[in-house]
């Protein structure tokens, strides 16, 4: 079992309160996933030509200053490195693939959680309440966000195994369910150059979408292909630069509810996570149909 929530602001006023409303949604899903939690938020886009990466240090003590000095030596285009606990936001005039490659080669204890122009991904082992507190989620101002609470069923409970998983520039995936053909798929995707950092099944789903998008598929086409190729149970929520998408497998054992008002669109594993939103009781709400892609964008 895991919990998923997604929140999409339809007004500037609601954008300013995104974290305020996302936090209780996330906390309501604690008993679906008390092992770890993560949040992807879309906010503070960098100016044209720059990229933004969210970094995560897996070492208990990490000398971020040394890291920054070496990084600036290799990449004079670095414009900032902001620390938040064991995470850091890096902005630079550089290609994100070059930055990620350099980090992997020089600082293997640092993981790249996300890359793009607006996305930031924060995740950590521990109760969702701790994660929300550590990263100041209630203060987030942004256009949309996804969050996940994890109850591990098929791989270890670590920060690296936590969701969301990056699937490309400004893209991420959260998953409730389990995949049964992830080992074979991982091997196939590795041969195509997709890099994996864990043995987690959901990371394979993320890698699969990364591969299809790299091949030129639209998000809808990539998800259509995922319905065919991924064997298992899933409710996916996929964050994009402009919005998010929801997909349930054709058997649809894993729950999902969507609701919409003039102010917001939200999805969650259960209605009780939506009940905290203003006007939820009067909102149009429905269960997404099996095997059908739902998406919203700004």
């Amino acid at each position: 079992m895991c919990g998923i929530v997604g929140l999409f602001a339809k007004t500037p006023e609601f954008e300013s309160q995104l974290g305020h409303y996302l936090t209780p949604m996330l906390l309501e899903m604690t008993d679906r996933g008390p092992d770890s939690a993560g949040v992807a938020v879309y906010r503070n886009p960098v100016p044209d030509g720059q990229v933004k990466l969210t970094l995560l240090s897996t070492a208990p003590w990490f000398a971020w200053q040394d890291f920054e000095n070496a990084l600036r030596y290799a990449f004079p285009g670095v414009t900032g490195l902001w620390l938040m606990g064991n995470h850091a936001i890096l902005t630079a005039f550089a290609a994100s693939a070059d930055l990620a490659g350099w980090i992997r080669a020089n600082y293997p204890a640092v993981r790249v959680n996300s890359s793009g122009s607006t996305i930031e991904i924060y995740k950590q082992k521990g109760l969702p309440a701790e994660v929300a507190h550590n990263f100041g989620v209630s203060q987030f101002v942004g256009t949309h966000a996804l969050a996940h609470t994890r109850m591990a069923t098929e791989s270890a409970v670590t920060t690296e195994h936590s969701h969301p998983f990056s699937t490309g520039e400004d893209l991420c995936l959260v998953h409730n369910g389990s995949l049964s053909n992830h080992n074979r798929l991982r091997t196939q995707l590795q041969k195509r150059g997709i890099h994996f950092t864990t043995d987690n099944d959901s990371e394979v789903a993320a890698g699969f979408l990364t591969w299809r998008l790299m091949e030129g598929d639209s998000l809808e086409a990539a998800l259509d292909r995922a319905i065919v190729e991924l064997d298992g149970f899933y409710t996916f929520a996929i964050g994009t630069r402009d919005g998010f998408a929801v997909l349930r497998d054709p058997i649809a054992c894993k729950p999902a509810v969507i609701a919409e008002t003039d102010q917001w669109v939200a999805m969650a594993s259960e209605y009780r996570a939506l009940a905290v939103l203003p006007g939820a009781d009067q909102a149009e709400s429905w269960e997404p149909a099996p095997g059908r892609i739902y998406s919203w964008s700004h």
Binding site: A252, C253, P255, V257, E270, Y271, R272, A273, L274, A275, D281, S285, W286, E287, A289, P290
Partner: protein, 229 residues
């Protein structure tokens, strides 16, 4: 006398404890429950002819194992509503999530919106009336009782069906293994008409429904198939 209960100020366990105090009696008190907000396991295990009205959407397993009580949810219901109901009436004014009425033995389950997948899975005698449509795999392994669907039915309706009777007014996306369409006789129209009235369905005529049931080839052992085992 009406009891008022506000879930904003008390727990699910408090509510069920209060309702269970009447179990085994013929007390018919009315209860008004506020602030359901998607909570799970509301009004489960009732065993008295109480009238329970729940305001708002409910989470998993509402009114499970119900006996004698009339439970109305003024909103949508999460997965497993009225699971294993024995008798009484459970009415959902909105839509219900998956496996509504699963394994229910008796009583009447009314869903005024739509029901999603696996509605009436393994039903064992309950009557289920859905004003809207039902999702895929509905009435899977249904043993007895009646499922009346005023809208459409999803794929694999009545897969591995035993002796439940299924009535659908709209389109059926597909029939499951061993489920076949059967002749709608007057006695079946009479049966549907009675259930529509009981469930407060207006604007639907029993004559518009089609009947589906078991071909009885799957669950009766056929000696000609012995080699297959």
């Amino acid at each position: 006398m009406v009891h008022h209960f506000d879930l904003a100020h008390a727990s699910t366990r408090d509510l069920n404890h209060a309702l269970h105090a009447f179990n085994g009696t013929d007390n018919d008190t009315a209860w008004q429950i506020k602030n359901a907000n998607g909570l799970h396991n509301l009004a489960v295990g009732l065993d008295a002819p109480l009238t329970v009205d729940i305001e708002g959407h409910v989470g998993y397993y509402c009114a499970g194992m119900n006996k004698f009580a009339r439970v109305t949810v003024h909103g949508n219901a999460g997965p497993g509503v009225a699971e294993n109901m024995m008798s009484g009436v459970v009415r959902i004014t909105g839509s219900a999530s998956q496996y509504a009425g699963a394994t229910a033995h008796g009583g009447l389950l009314i869903i005024e919106g739509h029901a999603s997948s696996r509605c009436g899975i393994s039903m064992k005698g309950v009557n289920i009336v859905v004003h809207g449509s039902v999702g895929h795999m509905s009435a899977f392994m249904a043993q007895s009782g009646r499922l009346v669907v005023c809208g459409d039915a999803g794929d694999a309706l009545g897969d591995s069906l035993y002796e439940a009777r299924l009535y659908v007014r709209g389109n059926v996306a597909g029939l499951g293994a061993d489920c076949v369409e059967k002749v709608m006789k007057d006695k079946h129209k009479y049966e549907v008409d009675g259930l529509l009235r009981e469930a407060g369905v207006s604007g639907a005529d029993a004559a518009e429904f089609r009947r589906f049931g078991s071909a009885r080839k799957l669950y009766n052992f056929n000696v000609d198939n012995a080699d297959a085992y």
